[in-house]
């Protein structure tokens, strides 16, 4: 009894103390970013010595001590704070590989192909700039040229471009990269082979990308062809051949290769990684210091990314100045400078703090009872309290729907100009319209017939579950607000948060109807890129995704509209801006009339919060850079230009 009591009291005490500690004190200081080097060498020595077991143990202990001491020495000298730029929010687990062909390396500091490709280690011919929607040459020399029929895209490569092994980077490398993607059906190959026929080297400096043609002899999708040159890396032919040789031509093995020996063209490469950090170091022989590109080396010698447990830990590190560039959701970020006076800032000085780029969206299961009725879908959508979602779930880090009226476009000026605002004005809603929603339902004859307070459709009560993955805190908070709206208009909406592993399997299985419990569910939509807004609209509305066994594209609710499909097919080949605007306006009209899904908030492509304790000169609104440097954490697409602009606060 007494022993147990003690135990309980002790447990209570420990619990309380730990609660208090975890709350009151900031997370323990992270050990300085040291580099462990000696250890493997020393271990080999131990193994080689053929001595009795006990002796090995003893020796190992001694060895450990040596290692520790080495670390202490290294700690002081290895990563000088004044030469290192620290990140958070990209890497949430240990790095698996350095293979640019693979999409599963979990190597966010080095490998991420896409509209705003990460160009620290591997490089794309062009760099996309989300602020002006243009592609700027990196490996390429000057703008690319379409032929008259828009079926062939030609670009030159810079003479100065060379690989980390010193050999020149040529058109042959570009062509061979594509050939390898197709041959081994890599994710890049699979995503583009319907649109790109071949990529050929005309001469060592000239590349021609030939589009696949449709039955009319036009390119199937020139948008995707143009996006390819700023989304996908150029990988060295010689290294690829070496890789093919050692993997014996097996696609699975080729993609699974860790590629520690990979040859790269970018300014940084692997320095050190383990379970807690990723560190990249500058290649002082980088070709980009040639006057034809940057004319100098990027400012930080090291790029380092600590692996944090969660957002809260990352935020604490940012506040302490241990992180310079933060790509994560820092709740109530403005309090860091308003209340604490920390040298922290975001791209915009005031709410919404970031440039919204993607539209987190609530999808309806269009086969659920009652949700096949537009009146029900629209009623829920217009009753939702969006200002509360934006103020509470996003802590105001999203533009409001008064500022940017809802459509299919993200809040960037380029996309906003692509549809006729006046024409859809009557269809747009800002939320909290309880009376309007009730009226809509009453008019559709969807009323409460049995007096239980909930409306019925065809005699059956309207009762739904709103859901999103567990632990996705801002989405969960948003879903709570959606559920609250249901109660106000007589539709029962409860919430549920399955684990992500379960959630993603259910939601992306588009070849069977969604099970009960997934009537209203949240997913994302595409951000910025050369194919946008077309690509985003296609993801949200195209019927081509319905029936896919593993659908990671969109339209998870199963919306089918032949007119939408027709428009989506026509847009990529349309070059007349007036006609494009007309088509986009029609799509927005259909979307806001049919309400197959509805946007809950705007979200930045990447969060971009910087701490200027050590480095300054990061991009911000009206920073005077021409072309404007986008707030993309200094390592994505054109935002890499930021690394050549930043400087030390106190050199």
């Amino acid at each position: 009894m007494s022993a147990h009591k003690k135990w309980t009291s002790l447990f209570a005490l420990v619990m309380i103390v730990s609660l208090a500690l975890s709350c009151a004190a900031p997370t323990p200081e992270i050990i300085e970013k040291e580099v462990v080097v000696e250890k493997p060498v020393v271990q080999t020595v131990v193994v080689e010595k053929e001595v009795p077991v006990e002796k090995i143990v003893k020796e190992t202990v001694v060895v450990e001590k040596v290692v520790k001491e080495t670390v202490v020495v290294e700690k002081a000298e290895a990563l000088p704070r004044q030469e290192t730029l620290y990140f958070n929010g990209f890497q949430w687990g240990p790095v698996v590989c350095w293979n640019p062909y693979s999409a599963n390396c979990n190597n966010a500091m080095a490998i991420a192909q896409g509209d705003n490709a990460r160009v620290t280690m591997f490089e794309t011919p062009y760099l996309y700039n989300m602020l002006d929607g243009k592609q700027y040459p990196l490996l390429a020399d000057g703008d690319y040229q379409w032929n008259a029929a828009r079926t062939e895209l030609t670009f030159k490569l810079k003479e100065a471009a060379h690989w980390s092994d010193g050999t020149p980077l040529t058109a042959e490398d570009v062509a061979y990269t594509w050939a390898t993607h197709v041959k081994y059906n890599t994710p890049t190959g699979a995503a583009n082979k319907e649109y790109i026929e071949t990529i050929e080297a005309v001469d060592p400096q000239t590349v021609v990308v030939k589009a696949k043609l449709d039955e009319n002899g036009r390119a199937v999708n020139p948008l995707i062809v143009a996006a390819y040159v700023s989304s996908n890396y150029v990988i060295q032919k010689a290294w690829t051949q070496k890789l093919e040789e050692r993997t014996g031509g097996d696609a699975t093995e080729l993609l699974a290769d860790t590629a520690e020996d990979v040859v790269y063209s970018g300014p940084y490469h692997k320095f050190y990684t383990d379970d807690t950090k990723v560190i990249m170091v500058r290649d002082d022989n980088y070709w980009g210091q040639d006057p034809s590109m940057w004319g100098k080396l990027p400012a930080p010698k090291y790029l380092a990314h600590m692996i944090f447990k969660d957002n809260a830990a990352g935020s604490a590190a940012l506040a302490r100045g241990e992180v310079d560039v933060s790509q994560q959701f820092n709740s109530n970020v403005h309090l860091l400078w308003l209340n604490y006076g920390l040298p922290i800032s975001t791209y915009l000085p005031d709410a919404p703090y970031h440039i919204g780029a993607s539209l987190p969206t609530a999808f309806y299961n269009l086969k659920a009872h009652g949700l096949d009725q537009v009146a029900v879908r629209k009623a829920i959508a217009i009753a939702v309290d969006y200002p509360t979602i934006i103020a509470n779930a996003m802590t105001n880090q999203s533009a409001t729907f008064e500022q940017v009226p809802r459509s299919l476009m993200n809040p960037t000026p380029g996309e906003q100009a692509m549809y006729d605002h006046e024409a859809v004005k009557d269809l747009q809603w800002v939320g909290n319209d309880i009376e309007g929603a009730k009226k809509l339902l009453d008019e559709a004859g969807i009323v409460d017939t049995d007096g239980d307070g909930w409306r019925e459709y065809q005699g059956k009560k309207l009762s739904y579950v709103a859901t999103c993955p567990n632990g996705w805190s801002d989405w969960q908070a948003a879903i709570e607000v959606v559920a609250a709206a249901g109660k106000k208009i007589g539709i029962e909406i409860t919430t549920n948060y399955p684990e992500w592993a379960v959630y993603q399997t259910v939601v992306t299985k588009s070849d069977t109807p969604l099970p009960p419990g997934y009537e209203i569910f949240m997913m994302w939509s595409a951000g910025t890129g050369i194919t946008q807004p077309w690509g985003r609209i296609r993801n949200l509305l195209s019927s081509e995704w319905v029936g896919m066994p593993s659908n990671w594209n969109g339209n998870w609710g199963g919306y089918v509209n032949p007119r939408v499909d027709e428009l989506l097919k026509a847009i990529p080949n349309e070059t007349d801006p007036a006609k494009l605007k007309e088509m986009y306006t029609e799509l927005v009209k259909i979307y806001l009339t049919d309400v197959p899904s509805f946007t809950l908030m705007y979200r930045p492509e990447l969060f971009h919060t910087v701490n200027e304790s050590v480095w300054t000169g990061f991009p911000h609104q009206e920073d005077g850079s021409v072309p404007p440097i986008p707030p993309m954490n200094c390592i994505n697409g054109w935002s890499i230009a930021c690394l050549y602009n930043i400087r030390l606060v106190s050199p």
Partner: protein, 416 residues
């Protein structure tokens, strides 16, 4: 019986613990009768509003206006917008912009603001200034607008007919309203949380739910432990061996691990407050069973039990009338401890995100969990987590205190 209760209430420790618990129970019961707001309603548009009295600005414009001539009003107004640090920062900027340092007197508000107004330009690029500093000066500049004005502020309303603004009222710097006369005032003694809910109202509800979880779990655990302990101790032999086999098995598995595994496998959708209570109850009966068994074994061979056996009473009868009363005091103490352990276990589970699901009921653990997710500790929003921690501390403290008090009364070895 009466004597026992009198004895118990003579123990100072028990009385203190008892009164804390009763006070909390009373608050939990009475508060919802007085404050009838739904505990989970989202009221604030924005997170973590600080504690205070919220007065409706719109209503206060229309309320009866009183003129109070208070001395420090203007000074307070300026101090709230312009701290000493701000004054130094303004001086730094002005010096960097080329104003001679000796011309700037940071204590002379009027002169300082005059210089500032005449020289500050947000577009001027001062060497070595970070963007964070630049933003700071822009914010400061905006907040200083009209700071020294002594003129009245005019309230305007849009005329529905002509669409133009029309004067609707004038507010002088010396105008006051009486808070009691403003129709819409909401007191938020503990502010709002990450969802925008009233923390105090939610805390009261959460305490009620956590206590319920504690009672349910504690009762289940005690009942199971008691039954198994009585059977094992009294019957002995093979029954004892089997029961102790399982008890020992459960003893070696850490409860928290079991709890985590079971809660996780139940899945979020089925985890209500009651389910969690049952899970906790079914995993924490072990030590009660062992302790009860030990007590019963020492009772089993007492004379009155043997007499009862000789009289031909059934096993159930003997256990209920000849054994149970002798360990009743012990069982009550065990129950109290089980309840407090269960409340802690719920808090522990919820912090890991394995507590009851969020929509229907708040619990103390869930409130802590969400405060942590929305980084309340980093942002210094103490009202979102400190009151919750204090509540947990008070509940478990009061119960442990009661338990110690009871122990002193009933345990002969501790009796003074």
């Amino acid at each position: 019986m009466r004597h026992t209760i009198q004895q118990v209430f003579r123990s100072g420790k028990f009385v203190v613990g008892f009164f804390i618990l009763v006070a909390m129970l009373l608050i939990v019961i009475v508060y919802p009768l007085i404050v009838t707001y739904p505990p989970l309603q989202i009221i604030s548009q924005g997170t973590f509003f600080p504690p205070g009295i919220y007065v409706n600005v719109y209503d206060s414009i229309g309320s009866t206006r009183y003129t109070l001539n208070l001395e420090n009003a203007a000074a307070n107004r300026i101090a709230s917008k312009l701290s000493n640090n701000d004054r130094h920062a303004m001086k730094d900027w002005l010096v960097a912009a080329g104003i001679p340092e000796n011309e700037i007197d940071i204590n002379d508000t009027e002169q300082l603001l005059g210089l500032w107004k005449g020289n500050y330009d947000p577009r001027v690029n001062i060497a070595g200034m970070t963007n964070a500093q630049r933003n700071y000066y822009i914010r400061l500049n905006n907040s200083l607008q009209g700071l020294l004005s002594t003129e009245a502020v005019i309230i305007a309303a849009r005329n529905a007919d002509i669409g133009a603004l029309q004067e609707a009222g004038v507010i002088n710097p010396s105008d006051y309203v009486n808070v009691n006369q403003v129709p819409n005032v909401r007191v938020l003694p503990l502010g709002t949380n990450s969802f925008g809910r009233d923390v105090l109202t939610e805390l009261v509800k959460a305490t009620a739910v956590s206590l319920q979880i504690g009672f349910v779990a504690g009762t289940i655990a005690t009942l199971i432990g008691l039954t198994l302990g009585l059977l094992a101790g009294y019957i002995g032999g093979l029954v004892d061996d089997i029961i102790m086999f399982f008890t020992n098995l459960f003893t070696v598995i850490p409860t928290i691990v079991l709890l985590i595994l079971i809660s996780f496998s139940i899945g979020q959708e089925k985890r209500g407050a009651f389910t969690i209570a049952v899970v906790i109850g079914f995993t924490s009966w072990v030590w009660t069973a062992r302790a009860v068994r030990a007590q019963v074994i020492s009772l089993r061979n007492r004379d009155h039990v043997n007499l009862s056996k000789l009289s031909g009473h059934s096993v159930a009868h003997i256990i209920l009338t000849d054994i149970l009363p002798y360990i009743a005091s012990y069982v009550v103490m065990a129950l109290i401890l089980q309840i407090s352990t269960a409340i802690l276990a719920e808090a522990g589970l919820s912090i890991l995100g394995l507590g009851p699901k969020t929509t229907e009921v708040p619990t103390l653990g869930l409130m802590l969990n969400w405060a942590l997710i929305y980084q309340a500790p980093i942002l210094g929003k103490w009202w979102a987590y400190l009151p919750v921690i204090l509540t947990i501390v008070l509940v478990t403290f009061s119960m442990n205190l009661m338990n110690t008090g009871l122990d002193q009364v009933f345990n002969p070895t501790l009796r003074e």
